[in-house]
């Protein structure tokens, strides 16, 4: 029997993953959240190409057009720009800021958690006390202060959100690794000549993946929210580039006369953030059966 044929014939024992998927599918809100995020991402990706208006196209004749009343489905803003086009373009920014900030914060959090949990001792103590100190600091002030210092740009916003949101992950990973490193398979791997880095990344980390995935999902929600409020406060994404936060900022003055200016971006933020939270809950239940039946 050739190697390739033998490999192809191997049954893939995926029972564990199957049942995790089934548990996730039973979580209605999580499925709802996944569908919403999927649709939102799809709409933001292709929607702007299908609309007859661009997000920056100004039409003075069409200022404050109310929604569902004409060519502009969700109405227009004070400059006559199409709200739907702006929401979709803003969604690109907000969602990518959310994912990018999550990815960076995961890298930082996992690295710090791994090192602190695996080596422990004074190094672990120093790192985790630093995490505690970072957690004590109200991140909104840090975000505002630093973004006013270095000047707002998408890249710097992403970095800023990431460096203020990795601590939870570091704590989760540290606790997991500290428990896992005493397990026999870690010692067994070391006895076979595995290096520290190898034991950490290959033996221990995969065993901690469930809580990390959950934290990552919740981190996306957190990052979207963080981007929204710093943009709302004027320190984030700068006009004319739309973001859900700065659209809300613009809407403030017209809250009574043109409430749709606030309602649609607000709904988009709420929808995205709650969906990610639902997904996180669903993943937690699905990946960690010990958390108990819902």
């Amino acid at each position: 029997m050739s190697t390739a044929a033998a490999d192809a014939a191997l049954p893939r024992p995926a029972r564990r993953r199957d049942s995790a998927l089934r548990r996730f599918m039973r979580h209605r809100l999580a499925v709802f959240g996944t569908v919403v995020i999927g649709l939102l991402a799809l709409a933001c990706a292709v929607g702007p190409y299908l609309l007859p208006f661009s997000d920056t196209e100004i039409d003075i004749m069409q200022r404050f057009a109310p929604p569902f009343s004409g060519a502009h489905l969700l109405g227009t803003d004070p400059l006559g720009r199409d709200i739907l086009a702006r929401i979709l373009m803003a969604g690109r920014i907000s969602l990518s800021v959310g994912f990018a900030a999550m990815a960076i914060s995961m890298v930082i959090g996992i690295a710090v958690g791994l090192v602190a949990g695996y080596y422990g001792g004074w190094l672990g103590t120093v790192l985790m006390r630093f995490v505690d100190a970072m957690l004590c600091f109200p991140s909104i002030f840090l975000l505002l202060a630093v973004s006013s210092l270095i000047g707002p740009a998408v890249g710097s916003i992403i970095l800023l959100i990431a460096v203020t949101s990795w601590m939870e992950v570091a704590r989760i990973v540290e606790a997991q690794i500290r428990a896992l490193k005493a397990r026999d398979f870690a010692v067994a791997a070391e006895a076979l000549g595995a290096s520290d880095a190898r034991v950490m990344t290959r033996e221990l980390l995969p065993n901690a993946i469930a809580p990390i995935v959950v934290a990552a999902t919740l981190n996306v929600a957190h990052a979207i929210l963080a981007e929204s409020y710093i943009s709302f406060l004027g320190y984030g994404i700068q006009p004319p580039t739309p973001s859900w936060g700065n659209m809300l900022d613009n809407a403030q003055s017209y809250l009574t006369s043109a409430p749709w200016l606030a309602i649609f971006p607000g709904a988009a933020i709420t929808l995205a953030v709650t969906s990610f939270n639902f997904i996180g809950d669903g993943l937690r239940d699905a990946l960690d059966p010990r958390m108990g039946g819902r």
Binding site: A188, L192, N207
Partner: protein, 353 residues
């Protein structure tokens, strides 16, 4: 290349031709808030190619720490101090002192020159990786093989340790295997680089009796094939009688008796060894002179507050005040190859005869 550069150390660092391992004055101490805790004190022994040394003793006697210390798998420097010498002949014939070896070279020794099998097969395999990948990984640590070649070799190893249908088993996860199967996988991983020394830390304790016999048989077959030296840690004296060439009895961190297996079982000299042997049920003695098993009274002494003199004295039936608690007895060569740590062994041996 010469065997080993001998710098300032005046002790002979060389091993005899057929010797694989020589442990000299190995001491291991843990640092605790209450002070230094000596877990292993002045352990010395040598091991020849193809030989099996059984390490026996109660829980807390230091037998597992000794084995972990040989591979330097005990906690690192500030928490744990290892002194003495552990000379191991590597795959290249070079003799290295594992106590003073730099960590990166030590990593190369682990798994390649000396490997270890642990007590709990249920937890010694990583639950999230396929068995084949884990065995292949063990091979790839030391041999620059590609993934496919390593997997092929992994299948051969699984076959060698008696796992049926090894190619299919490569893609199993550990939780799909029984304890005996997993222990076979662990043995396959340990043997992947054909080590000179295998340390088996109670490899059959967690298995049921029929599987125990199979695993012991497997180890013996593999040893005949590879001529590796084996350190077998156990508290099951039945297993010792079955597989060991020599036995080393440890008590409270010290070697108290060391002898080839027959003299040790036939004419044990140290009262502690006798106590151990008397506490084993024997089928051939059933219903005869000794009907009840005799337990050794008391418990292992607190290593932070050891009794004066012989550490077994408080539990010993032959304790003599003024003699046994005066000083720690030395390790006497009672008979050829038979070492005992007891001041009263000559008279006890006479009485027994």
């Amino acid at each position: 290349m010469p065997d080993l550069p001998m710098p300032l150390d005046t002790r002979p660092a060389l091993l005899a031709e057929d010797e694989v391992l020589s442990v000299r004055d190995l001491s291991i101490a843990f640092h605790t808030p209450a002070g230094a805790l000596p877990a292993v004190r002045d352990v010395s022994f040598t091991l020849r190619r193809g030989e099996t040394l059984a390490l026996v003793g109660e829980s807390g006697s230091g037998k597992s720490v000794t084995s972990l210390g040989i591979l330097r798998l005990t906690p690192r420097a500030p928490f744990c101090r290892i002194t003495g010498q552990v000379l191991l002949r590597g795959h290249d014939g070079r003799v290295r002192d594992l106590v003073s070896l730099p960590e990166d070279e030590m990593r190369d020794v682990r798994g390649r020159d000396a490997a270890m099998v642990f007590q709990e097969p249920m937890t010694s395999l990583n639950p999230v990786h396929r068995v084949g990948d884990q065995v292949a990984e063990a091979i790839r640590f030391h041999e620059g093989l590609g993934r496919r070649a390593a997997l092929t070799k992994a299948a051969e190893l699984l076959e060698l340790v008696g796992i049926p249908d090894p190619r299919r088993r490569l893609s199993s996860y550990p939780h799909e295997m029984s304890g005996g199967m997993r222990q076979r996988v662990m043995i396959a991983m340990a043997l992947s680089c054909e080590p000179q020394l295998l340390i088996a830390d109670e490899p059959t304790t967690a298995l049921d009796v029929t599987i125990q016999a199979q695993i012991l048989d497997l180890l013996r077959r593999l040893q005949e094939r590879t001529r590796m030296a084996v350190i077998f840690i156990t508290h099951n004296l039945g297993v010792v009688a079955e597989i060991a060439d020599r036995v080393m009895v440890m008590y409270s961190g010290r070697v108290v008796e060391q002898a080839p297996v027959r003299p040790l079982f036939g004419a044990p000299l140290m009262p502690y060894t006798r106590g151990l042997l008397r506490s084993v049920p024997r089928l051939d003695m059933a219903g005869r002179e000794r009907e009840r098993l005799q337990a050794i009274p008391g418990a292992v002494p607190d290593p932070l507050a050891p009794p004066p003199g012989c550490s077994f004295a408080p539990r010993c039936g032959h304790f003599e005040p003024g003699l046994c608690d005066a000083a720690v007895p030395g390790l006497d060569l009672a008979r050829p190859e038979h070492l005992v740590r007891c001041v009263r062994w000559p008279e006890l041996a006479r009485n027994a005869a």
